[in-house]
């Protein structure tokens, strides 16, 4: 994909992010922060892509750490958000 297409997607994604999130009520700011935090764990994909091309022990070592970090970010983030949201209940 060429750079201009990628930049177009980047800018549009930013606006989608602004629009979707500016409506979230204060009540949910902590879970929201935690959920978006989990979403940037998408960097995990970067580790998966680069490790296929990487050569040498140091590169492999660094990438295994990167993948582990990314996994902590994703798995931990979604789990902890779920734990928080599980507790939000209506008056019955």
């Amino acid at each position: 994909m060429d750079l201009i297409t990628e930049l177009t997607i980047l800018v549009l994604a930013a606006f989608v992010g602004f629009e979707v999130i500016s409506k979230v009520p204060n009540t949910l700011h902590t879970p929201l922060m935690s959920a978006t935090n989990a979403i940037h764990g998408i960097v995990l994909l970067g580790g998966l892509i680069v490790i296929g091309e990487a050569t040498g022990f140091l590169d492999d070592f660094l990438l295994v750490i990167a993948i582990a970090f990314g996994t902590i970010n994703v798995v931990g983030g979604f789990l902890v958000t779920d734990r928080m949201l599980e507790m939000f209940k209506r008056r019955d």
Binding site: V16, T36, L45, I67, V74, V75, D82
Partner: protein, 470 residues
């Protein structure tokens, strides 16, 4: 063979990515309402799973053993941490999860640069610039988040730590990062320089969070959250991966909005926060000047019980002190007892109550307080004049009328809960110490205010018992 080639078709993988984006955006939308929020988080998680599976299908992705190892380590660390963390410790957990994300970005861009050097030198600028950007921001985010974690976990002192010439040092570090990046981008091939960038950015991350006081830490975490998102998007540009670009940017945008909302709620400019020195009991000019002992009216549990039980409307204004005392459940029990007597009980939640925005909602939800009893500041403030009793528990600065009335107060202009407009105000306090910001609170000396001293949990329990005995 047919199946394999179809699965590995780049267009098929892009289509899967599109499904992942739909899940992310839909998930964030569902997070707009407490009723659907949990589903939203799960939808986003499904999106992430789709994105990961799609990426594993890419033809050049290999080394599945190492991938499995990394994922196994990450799961072994992440799952127990997420399962066992206490709700009060949520801000530092988010800081930590955010930090590892930034760390991953920095490591990936470092390896990406090493690989490029091995295969014929510096990559084209459209790849190189995002790599350098991702390395700097990722490294700042990792180290900054770690310091934020250390401060919130009280491994490091929460007060601002300032060095002489702090700002000069920060600017110099940033200049080193940018300078080395320019040298690399203009054709120099040097891994050494790249490492200098990573290290300078690491020190910058430390230096930029250390001078910031505990009260401002949520804004910092939110900003670093946005940073990590941006660095992930930059990594996406470098790796030509559209999933990283979209998801990273969604987070970059949301983190920026949250950061602004939080700063606004505290009436602090982002710039001021990063100059540091506030929010840790540093300087509070014009607040502690007069020095004379002003009279306060202290009360006892029995009297509080009578005031509450015969009120028709009670508004509870909880602060972080309530969570520190682990008094959420006791407060919920008290509210239930009052409701049984026909008293209307609601909670007034300041946007920055707790240690991050929305933190108090989570803490009260944990104690089974229904979310429709939690009222946001703008919604509840007009109701205080019709409120019989405002019960302030472990909250200080967010109820300080000086923010509204005293033009030379350091918190002047900060939006507050107008608890002082209620017919009676009862403040549960441990002692006469000033709050997080170190500023005296005229609310305590007001005519309609009485104070109940003691541990918040014990006090609430005593009041509950007195209500039940009425």
């Amino acid at each position: 063979m047919y199946t394999a080639s179809f699965l590995q078709d780049p267009d098929f993988i892009r289509v899967l990515y599109i499904f992942a984006f739909i899940c992310f955006i839909l998930g964030l939308r569902l997070l707009n309402h407490p009723r659907t929020a949990r589903r939203g988080n799960r939808v986003a998680a499904v999106g992430m799973a789709i994105a990961v599976i799609a990426t594993l299908l890419i033809e050049s992705v290999g080394d599945y053993g190492l991938i499995a190892l990394g994922v196994a380590i990450g799961t072994a660390v992440g799952v127990p941490a997420a399962r066992s963390v206490k709700m009060t410790a949520m801000p530092q957990m988010v800081a930590l999860f955010n930090g590892v994300g930034g760390g991953a970005v920095a490591l990936i861009s470092w390896v990406e640069y090493r690989e490029a050097l091995e295969h014929g030198g510096n990559p084209a600028l459209e790849t190189l610039i995002p790599i350098l950007f991702a390395a700097i921001i990722g490294s700042v985010s990792f180290w900054g988040s770690n310091i934020a974690f250390g401060k919130l976990q009280e491994i490091l002192p929460g007060r601002p730590i300032q060095l002489p010439g702090q700002q000069f040092i920060n600017i110099a570090l940033l200049a080193i990062c940018i300078g080395c990046s320019v040298v690399i981008a203009s054709g120099t091939e040097s891994e050494g320089l790249f490492i200098v960038i990573l290290v300078a950015a690491a020190i910058l991350g430390n230096m930029f969070v250390l001078p910031i006081g505990g009260a401002d830490m949520p804004v910092v975490i939110s900003l670093l959250n946005a940073f990590t998102g941006l660095s992930a998007a930059a990594a996406g540009l470098a790796l030509d991966n559209v999933a990283l670009i979209v998801a990273g940017m969604l987070v970059g945008a949301s983190g920026s909005i949250l950061t602004m909302l939080m700063a606004e709620a505290m009436n602090r400019s982002i710039l001021n926060i990063f100059k540091g020195g506030f929010g840790g009991g540093g300087t509070a000019p014009g607040a502690t000047g007069d020095g004379e002992e002003k009279p306060v009216r202290s009360t006892d549990a029995a009297d509080v019980a009578i005031q509450l039980a015969y009120a028709s409307k009670v508004v509870v204004a909880p602060g972080y002190g309530l969570a520190v005392a682990q008094a959420q459940h006791a407060v919920r029990d008290l509210a239930n007892a009052l409701e049984k007597r026909g008293v209307e009980v609601v909670y007034a939640i300041h946007p920055v109550a707790g240690r991050m925005p929305g933190h108090m909602n989570v803490l009260l939800a944990e104690a089974d307080v229904p979310y429709d009893s939690l009222k946001e500041m703008d919604e509840i403030n007009p109701e205080f004049p019709q409120t019989d009793v405002a019960l302030v528990i472990g909250a200080n600065d967010v109820t300080n009328p000086a923010a509204r009335d005293v033009a030379d107060s350091p918190i002047y202009g900060m939006p507050i809960l107008d608890v002082d407009k209620a017919a009676a105000v009862i403040v549960l306090k441990r002692s006469m110490n000033t709050g997080f910001a170190g500023i005296d609170n005229p609310l305590f000396y007001a005519e309609n205010t009485s104070l109940l001293f003691g541990d918040a949990k014990e006090s609430v329990q005593k009041v509950l018992k007195a209500v039940e005995d009425l």
